[in-house]
Symmetry: C2
Subunit: 188 residues, 2 copies
């Protein structure tokens, strides 16, 4: 659904062909907020066209380049766009964190190995935290607050994860993962 959302959002600004949509997405770093695969992009464009939410306006043929098909958003598409934006904001989506599943099952394997990869993961996450904070800092004075919120949100999320990973690592290192009846925090 995100794919359709972006396509409609960008066609709202002006007519574009699929490849151009991808370029703009990269320019604006949308590819950091969603998976950007060419196959999915073209698939979503075709779908939207079939459904009548966008329509092809012209095909530019050059002898030296593949043909490009330019698309324009329709009134139906505008309606869908609004609906999709509101729907995505409204609906609470489960955060399926692949780490959670792996950790739940990690007791079956050698704890010292788990400890080691957790350390790698922590280092990686530290870099991410720093990177996201820097991106935020660098843009504080130059972008609209909506973009700042996104950047700061990303930073906060990864910081939350980092702290969680560190507590987890401490427990793995102390081989306490299987202890029962011991609260994580003294004051709970």
């Amino acid at each position: 659904m995100s794919m359709k959302l972006v396509i409609l959002g960008l066609l709202l600004e002006r007519e574009r062909h699929p490849y151009e949509i991808m370029l703009v997405m990269k320019e604006r770093s949308y590819n950091q907020m969603m998976k950007l695969q060419m196959g999915s992009l073209y698939y979503a464009v075709d779908k939207l066209a079939e459904e009548g939410h966008i329509c092809a306006t012209e095909t530019i043929r050059s002898s030296d380049r593949p043909d490009k098909t330019i698309y324009r958003i329709t009134d139906q598409g505008r309606a869908l766009f609004e609906q999709l934006v509101l729907q995505q904001i409204k609906k609470y989506e489960q955060v399926y964190h692949p780490l959670y599943m792996a950790l739940a099952l990690s007791r079956h394997i050698d704890q010292s190995k788990v400890e080691k990869v957790l350390e790698e993961r922590i280092r990686e996450t530290e870099h991410q935290v720093n990177f996201y904070y820097q991106v935020y800092e660098e843009h504080v004075m130059s972008v609209p607050r909506s973009a700042l919120h996104l950047m700061y949100g990303r930073y906060e999320h990864s910081l939350t994860e980092l702290n969680w990973l560190k507590r987890l690592h401490a427990d793995v290192a102390a081989r306490k993962l299987n202890d029962i009846g011991s609260p994580l925090f003294a004051d709970s």
Copy 2:
């Protein structure tokens, strides 16, 4: 990949048939950490069997029930399991938050509508936060620390999100999303 991980993890304990795997997953609330669809489960089982990571040991035929095929993990499967667990912990996976994309594009639509759905979302998230905290509290004295970490992590993550949503909502309400050059926090 999570699907294969769980299947191997559960077959590590003992032989099971696919439907039983699903039952155990629900029992242990694994379905809250990953998407559980019967289609995917059977597909993953078939794949693992093809690859030789698990093998069918017997087929129980009853006249009154569909046949069930019991699977057992192989040595290859054990190796794969360890590899997958470590890989999932190690590899940093982008958190593609569908909300982010919607918010980045929300400036194209009526801000009062955005404000309203954000309020719904906040209420929903508040319930989640409370729910996750309760789950944690209820289990503090009775489950291994590994499980507690998962529960508390979920709680923290949703709390982080809630606070972020509230700040965002305040800005939407004040129509400040498009302001440029104003830091989100006084002290940054």
